[in-house]
Symmetry: C2
Amino acid sequence: MMRGMMMDRPMLVSSVIDYAAEVFPQVEVVSNTVEGGIHRYGYAQARERIGRLANALVGLGVKPGDRVATLAWNGYRHFELYFAIAGIGAVCHTINPRLFPEQITYIANHAEDTALFFDLTFLPLVEKVAPTLKTIKTYALLTDRAHMPASSTLPGLLCYEGLLSEMDAAFTWPEFDENAACALCYTSGTTGEPKGVLYSNRSMMMHTFCLIASRPDLFAYNKRILPVVPLFHANAWSLPYVTPVTGCPFILPGAKLDGATLWELMENEGVDAGWGVPTVWLGLIDEFKKRGRKPKNLKQILSGGSAVPQAMIDTLTRDWDIEVTHGWGMTEMSPIGTITLFRPDEQKLQPLERAKLSALQGRRMFGVDLKIVTEKGEIAPRDGETSGELFVRGPAVTSGYYNNAEATKKQMDAEGWFGTGDVAKVTPDGWLVIVDRTKDLVKSGGEWISSIDVENAALAVKGIANCAVIGVPHPKWNERPLLVVVKAPGAEPTKQEIMDVLGSKIAKWQMPDDVVFVDALPMTATGKISKKDLRSKFADFKLPDMAGG
Amino acid sequence: MMRGMMMDRPMLVSSVIDYAAEVFPQVEVVSNTVEGGIHRYGYAQARERIGRLANALVGLGVKPGDRVATLAWNGYRHFELYFAIAGIGAVCHTINPRLFPEQITYIANHAEDTALFFDLTFLPLVEKVAPTLKTIKTYALLTDRAHMPASSTLPGLLCYEGLLSEMDAAFTWPEFDENAACALCYTSGTTGEPKGVLYSNRSMMMHTFCLIASRPDLFAYNKRILPVVPLFHANAWSLPYVTPVTGCPFILPGAKLDGATLWELMENEGVDAGWGVPTVWLGLIDEFKKRGRKPKNLKQILSGGSAVPQAMIDTLTRDWDIEVTHGWGMTEMSPIGTITLFRPDEQKLQPLERAKLSALQGRRMFGVDLKIVTEKGEIAPRDGETSGELFVRGPAVTSGYYNNAEATKKQMDAEGWFGTGDVAKVTPDGWLVIVDRTKDLVKSGGEWISSIDVENAALAVKGIANCAVIGVPHPKWNERPLLVVVKAPGAEPTKQEIMDVLGSKIAKWQMPDDVVFVDALPMTATGKISKKDLRSKFADFKLPDMAGG
């Protein structure tokens, strides 16, 4: 090998905020605050406050490599923490506040966090769990002095704004190895304890670059971007880095993510694109209907986290002139793996034709390698038929879980690829189709039934607001599908109506053996339907003898 | 430091062509061929042929680290060489065919090239210099069997298409350190021997990523891009990597770069954007005028290599509805350092207002650090006034010249920044303004006069096609400016008319002491005005006593 003669400069996330401050000083970060009202400033002012925060962190004794935790919504102070913590070489550990308190305790202790910065909303939660947190020495409330509580059980509780006001804004970032960790996020698996994904400066920059390179149009001309996806969830799909680099305004929605609040914010801030999970878009679409229009500038919705039903994509496309981009990924992938990505000939299709392609999970993002391994251990051909477990590889994919050799071992194959736990296939045109989570497949006799396929068919039935398919034990077939339905408000679909519609959409052997109605589906802390909870609820469910393979 | 737990995957340029072949298999590379006629294929077929070429190179004994030279225009075979050579871990050494034969000999021997691939055009040139080339064992002509010469003085001359036809298309790229060299390009300085810049896989990918991240709009929606900038010149500004990653069609113009040929190709291929040096655009604008219109889809011109005069930008903007993006860079920077980059408020300006900003050299690209050092050795403030020598730093900036410690020493400062040899300033808004090349400044008494400022003022005079300002010795002032003018066809501007116009645009002490008319200006091999040649031509010129400081 001959080594090139180019400068050996590390890729550090701190360079992102310095660039934005210099090149896009007035481009705004807008936040719907927890305290009430809108906060806005430019990237230059953000950098100034990030400098103050960096000085404060150093003053508090935070050292390179230390884990500093956050429990916070999408707001400017959370954004500041991202850069100040990573900038000094420490690790920004974003904790999902929707987890059970016991999980938060487990995660903070496992990560050995030394400090915790949290929003006002979470003061009661933090006061409750604090006695169980073994390593946290510093508690800081993300608010100003006026909103500080008169008293708190938390030892030496700091006021974020008070802290910053005492500090100097000047702070020159240290330079260090780009492989240094910059962020940590635990993924709450449906089995076992949460597992930590430890991102590096390099991996974060690579994900940022690869996302922009794969879909430059999403960031062209300083698009006004609103991440509904939380900053505590897989780096908010790396948007906190992508928007400053590309000079896009960043609109942070705070704690309230209902349709009405989102609609108002999008309207007032001229948001071009919203990024988030499908559940959120359901609420927003309801608001479109109530008001008879969408927010004036909204043109794009980026949806990930779980599969977007075709019906939702069609509605957004046809009724609201919104283009839906679908992404698939995992916390372990920083998180995006595949994304809706059209070829020039597909660009020319009618919107509703393109919408059909948007229902697929997308094509691989540059920098992500995909490998599908069949049950026989063979590499699946890209025929749109053969499915198997999906493995991934790339510079922004985890090489193992933080301090968890056992979980790491389960997930990595002999060649160093990461096993996603998803069953998938790839079409000859290169579209990834997620068939199901391995553990959510209904194993009926020798056949696998995709719960997602049946759910998508059922969601097209009028009067169904939401649904889930799980396998329940069956004496002859091992498992058979059960459809669990939440009715839309005011609607009264019957079992027979649903079965009739399904019968025209899916094969007989895929048909659910029964339909049950519930008021609501159990959800995980990350906003997905908890099939684990559903399965345990219906473990003893007696299927009628009305169907079968 | 705590190390992140992410996969250690190298950034290799071979991943670019594999991605394009898979995700954009039918997106076209279109070439105006040397043999005549248009050649077109998709990225998938390109990858297939690149696989054959890689097998051929290995068969010819090319080893990792070996330098493989090219003498070729912008065509698909040159594009193939880029990827096949770098893909096997060797170094693609693009030689500028416009250099003097002695320079080509110097460069090929200095690089110790082991093979040379060249276009038909250059057969006589290669036959002439071959006896002086000490290390080249393999000569291959970039053509098919039908176009091979009946005989040649070159030992064992190979036919490129013959070579490929015998090879297998399957070739899996080896994985190696991303710091491995992938390309080599000599910059023909205006003083001394040419100096080699040795790019690495990492630096090339970083430049690619940073360009896309800085101007995503340029590559959004699969824009049809035509590089007039040669593949033998600083990686054609990294377009051979940017276009496959972003799925942009790549239109290669071959050997003929006159206005009429370019116009036809742009029209027929629906080119959206042309990238090249200002001289080329002069010819193209003439063609617009002749035909009364521009090629139907042409919307953008990217201009770099030398400063673009305001008058040209205004014409393109006002008369032809073409947006001009201005870039500044150097071979040593892979090559882009700054680029026209608008803030949201500037995006909203009228086109002719934006055009004023496009005449500046642009804002720094993400990943490029700028430092301006005054004569006193101080860092210049960003006040738009204080100028000094421009230093640069970044992961795609050279750390030294290949096998040339002496030249390296001259160019790098104590902190590891690269000295560009340009005198520059930065406005408070972050726009870089190149005042002049250090050596092109006219040193008049204690003042510096920017030759570029005077030239830009003169180019606005009706009847001036091109011009250059050089300093000529003056007994009192040390140097004084001389304006050398090429008249436009049919125009007869007088010395007095020119001086009158200049008098209204620049200060008295900047006024040239004399004006001389020439038929043509001497050009360098890279298409820039050779001030070195002009200075030696006019070294003994007697200035009249009509002006002075």
